[in-house]
């Protein structure tokens, strides 16, 4: 039986992953993800839906107060409690089937 050496546990091969890719390899990398509605990738307006656009307008309306730190539904409920008559359409969107995805405000994950 050949004696096992402690150095057998160490990889002696060079780690090829750390070598910089050639330009050919770079072109074959995965295409970047399309910007979503939230998070760091959301930079442009073109890819968001009409509902999201409406909810962003609700976020930026100063008469209902600041929008960071609260979910949109909480902010809507607070606006109603203070008698500011927030639009019902916003509430319907937030309590509808897509409510969970649309509940975070515009700046969530970006600020």
């Amino acid at each position: 039986m050949q004696q096992a050496r402690i150095t057998d546990n160490f990889r002696q091969q060079k780690n090829f992953d750390s070598i910089s890719r050639t330009s050919r390899d770079k072109k074959q990398q995965k295409a970047p993800e399309l910007p979503g509605a939230h998070g760091e990738a959301a930079v442009t307006n073109y890819d968001i839906s009409a509902e999201e656009r409406l909810l962003r307008a609700f976020d930026l309306a100063t008469q209902y107060g600041p929008c960071t730190g609260m979910t949109r539904l909480e902010r809507w409920q607070r606006a109603e409690q203070f008698g500011l008559n927030p639009p019902m359409q916003v509430k319907e969107l937030l309590t509808g089937p897509q409510g969970e995805q649309l509940n975070q405000c515009l700046w969530d994950g970006r600020v």
């Binding site: 960071t68 607070r78 203070f82």
Partner: protein, 466 residues
Amino acid sequence: MGTLDLERPTPSTGQKYDELLSMPGDMMCAEAAAIPRATCEYTPRGQGFLLGKQRSFDRQYAQLYFSRLLKLRQVVQQQVQAAWPGTPVVKILSVGEDQEVAVIGTLYKDMKLKPSILDEYAKQPGFKQALGGTGFCSDDDSLVLEDEGARMSMRSECAELQPDSVVTGVVLAVRGRAEPGGDFVVSGVLWAGLPEQPQRPLPQEDAYVALVSGLQLANSKADMMQVQLLVDFLTGNLGAAPQQQLAAKVVQLVIAGGSLGQLEALAAANPYSRQQTTDMEPVRDMDLVMTELAAALPVDIMPGPDDPANASLPQQPLHQCLFPGAAPYSSFRRVTNPHAFELGGCLLLGTSGQNIDDMAKYTRGRSRLDLLACCLQWCHLCPTAPDTLTCFPFGADDPFVLQQCPHIMLAANQPEFDTRLLEGPGGASVRLVCVPSFIKTGTLVLVNLRTLQCQPLTFQSNYTSS
């Protein structure tokens, strides 16, 4: 202090010797009957100050300011419509330069001596640190009004709105016109005013609520004899029949913060050493005192500035594990700071003094009692929160806005005792009390629930020759 309208103790019966100085034996018969303690119905009213288990601290304070402005704007608007009928009320963004308008917003006081976190990064310390924490007012403080859209700086030509007498965070209405330079020149100001006071039923007989604060049992200078005299008085073990009858009329004791103080020795102690057991002695002393009191009368204990509770307002009740002896009593209630409750229809609202202490640093020329009256005038318990007073970041509500005017309002842990009866519109009358720190003055304050008069009692155990 001038002439305070204090209640004098009831005069003695005129006997030359009371039962303490008479022969024993005669008094052992049924004449020495037990004196029953008066009772009063207690209803807690401070549910808004209790925070739930889920407390999220990542919200910003802008939400709290917005809630405060919205809640008080309606009240201030009614005042404006009553006092200045012809003046239009506009938002800051719509203030023009041609006409006189009224604007409602939150006040911000720009003070250059206010300690700012940015100073820690400044290259030179400057003389802010040299001044210390005594006062941050200077002669060039300026006032800014803010609402949800914009802010504008103000120049006041009105005597009621001077930088020295106001603090940041107050919601008010100002009337004036905008100058071409950009400043808004103020000619009149309106505060939210006292909220509505519910009618209170007058009790038939005298009943007292006892207020004490600042026992500071962890402080090495605390006089245990003085504290024991206080406990003995309240439990009816001190004095002769007149004192016992007075003690029997006390229906509620409120210990408004500062009962433990800072356990300095504990901070330095090794967690595994035997010394820690001795350093925790003050906590056991506090529990013993509370057990004796809770066995005799209902006690409400509030946390104070240095007590082992959270530092931000509203302070949550002290934990049950600090009171293994007293907690089983149903008469012992651990409550929040600020605390609001109702005793037989009489509404009491009190804090352990952090709000008044903070306001005193940012104003000049106002006594502590004046500041307490201002809190009522401004309809807000601690307007400087969250600017200079740490506060929980509330989102949908501001629980410090006063909804109802209390009958008794107190601020504890103050340097000296002071009291005044404040008369408000609509027949409202509020007893304002500054409860002094017990370790400094040895004073217990009794407030009569029938007449709303105060009776301070001082306990002294120090008989040096003088």
